[in-house]
Amino acid sequence: MASHGIKDQVAIVGMGCTRFAEHWDKSLDDLIIDAAQDTFASAGVAKDDIDAYWFGTAQSGMSGITLARPLQIQDKPVTRVENYCTTGSEALRGAAYAVASGAYDVAMALGAEKVKDSGYQGLNAFPIPGDGTARTLTAAAMFSMVAPAYAQKYGVDEDQLGEVLARISWKNHQNGARNPRAQFRKEVSTETICASPRVAGRLGVFDCAGVADGAAAAIVVRAEDALRYTDKPLYLKALSFAVGSGSGLIDPDYDYTWFPECAATAADAYRQAGITDPLHELAMAEVHDCFTPTELVLMEDLGFAERGTAWKEVLAGTYDRTGALPVNPDGGLKSFGHPVGASGLRMVFEAWLQLRGEAPPERQIETDRTVALTHNLGGYPGEMVSFVSVLGTQLG
């Protein structure tokens, strides 16, 4: 099996991201236009300079026309992609491979989602006709099964695990409070987090990602062209993507304490990028904290902690903004919000700001490390899609 990667072949030369929020006053078109304009400006290009587009939306529209109409793109290739919550990362992947292949010189990846027009809280899947036997459980309920399984396997008292999960939520709210683009910009005490109403299993409202509208975009070119657009490009060190077979749901060997798809993409991405010690090589990581137990388990799947030890590292502050490896310095899905199609690109946007030293001073990470990781997943424990990227400021 080959997964060669495209290390140092492609660079991001411009990015943009809207605020993620309940944008009652903004349409999908508005969000697309705002993100695209910011991104064109960031790269110093005009719409006509873009040769091809990859547009990610999970369920806010269909076909490339959903992007072409608001931006008035005429007769250019616009590919619409969808891959659950990794939709935004998938758009970046398509655009990056397109320029790496030489088919195009300049490509844009744009992810957008308008989730707040449904009239319901949370995310609701588009109904596909079926035999009526499919699970109707919420994502919160599916991920809530991770917490007791983890506690039992590693002998963590359930109340102590509750503290660990609250600490993750607390940290992400701390970071989001320092992010003007975040949906929730308020610090929340662990007492408030623990007292929040139960949603599923032991998970309360503050264990769940924010649900927001938003859009984010990136412009990619071949690495050798990057300096024509910016002094500080971000080079793609690794792009890894894995789709599980869904057998975790029906395989008695799966124990709900890890996500094999995520571990596979991490291993592949580290190999592509040449990373051997992520905890000490990465400047930061953006991970898919859709629910607090997800972030906990990801610390182990991504190699930031040994199996069964991440809960201790969380309590020790290892993943705080000032810790050994800051995780979700922009607030993560928890406080930044989760417009499905945009989230993967939003994660890359934080790496873009942090590695270029352009994050607001109150959350800029002080480090001499030059590589960052984004991790984006979709689906549920047992049937998951996973994406990992590694980005860096230096070639080689």
Binding site: G130, G132, T133, L137, T138, A141, S144, A200
Partner: protein, 490 residues
Amino acid sequence: MRGIISSAGYVPYRRLQRASIAQFFGSGGGKGARAVASYDEDTTTMGVEAARRALGALDDTGVDDRTTELDALWFSTTSPAYLDKTNAAAIHAALRQPARVGAYDFGGALRSGAGALRSALDGHGTTLVVLADQRGGLPTSSDESAGGDGAAALVVGPDGPGTPVVAELLGAASFSDEFVDRWRSPGDQRSKVWEERFGETRYVPLGAQAWQSALTSAGLEAAAVDRVAVTGMHARAVRSVGRALGVRPDALTDGWADAVGQTGAAHVGLVLASMIEQSEPGQVVAVVSLADGADVLVFRVTAARAAWSPADPVAGQVARGSDLSYAKFLTWRGAVTPEPPRRPEPARVSSSAAWRNESWKYAFVGSQDRTSLAVHLPPSRVSMRGGAVDDMEPVVRADTLATVATFTIDHLSFSLSPPIVFAVLDFDGGGRFPLELTDVEPDAVAIGDRVAMTFRRLSTADGIPDYFWKAKPVRTHERSGTATTTGGGR
């Protein structure tokens, strides 16, 4: 010789204490309790549960149920899930019956239950008679408190070497008369009744005539009857006819009026199944059903009864019921509508997709890879272990017990009775599937709990019930393979 080859009753898990009605309204109710179908049950699902038990008892005699070849499956109820469309077809599918078995509904009137049973006994071939009903009325009405929900299933046919009858029909009589005692217009949720004393004057002579006629055809005196029950929705007439039967005082049974309630078209089958369960070889049992006339069936329990063991006796099901609040009862009946979770309601089931997946959806049949032996739920064409293609055997998990590997309680998903309790289940003999639990107290679920499968209605959209399987706690497990539960609550 024709008779009953196997039989079973089904009494849903929940009970409404009749006193709780008066506690709420200041009137209505009465003594005892009535059985209440769960929010996810209807007459079709209850019929499936009764039929699984009747056929399951045959499995346990050492006779493979495949050799208990049915010629027909008849279903009777006054509260069908569908009109126009045959409800017996869903029961047929859930029981994995071959296409050549005719499936028919006997619907509408309360008497259709007794009529289906009598017709099967008079007919030929082997017929599975399934009776199910949900009875109720307006709040505080006697129909609400005296009614009950339940089902019965009786395998009726000729005495045969592999399938001996456990109750031989000795005699029968049916008397009919046109008088308007109880009626309901199509679409109405409540029945109406004429002044009780008028109906009583009709039922008492009809019952006496039918009783005498049946005894004569059986060649028996009333004193020879060991056990008899009188059933019907007219409580005064039931009592009066019972008093006039002339049987030994200890022979008259109460017919579960106090503990289950009158289960309408199903009741004649429920009390008959219960009496057979409580009888010994050689005893004479009889049932008198009063509905727009009188039907009497007289049986002698045969020597084969000794080797036949009921899968899940009615008395045990009655004993392990769990109380339901009157508020929940009113909610489940649609009398009150609490705020639902703010989530989209389920979409309509695709008819063509359901048909393609009939054995999975209706009968919980998965597949097993011949090479790796990995069990796939739902059935799969490509194996998750080794990747073999189209090399699987069907594997039935409907009658298999499972263990809770992990579980959660979902407060957000749409449900007719939130919260949803959902568990990842590992089946005995292989296979894992995440499935909703039912007939369960959310606080009492634990990893390692044992559960059995039960056929339920998940939801209804556009008039199409979405039938599938759930799991429920095994309260005291009697025997494996019958997917039945017995004993007290946890």
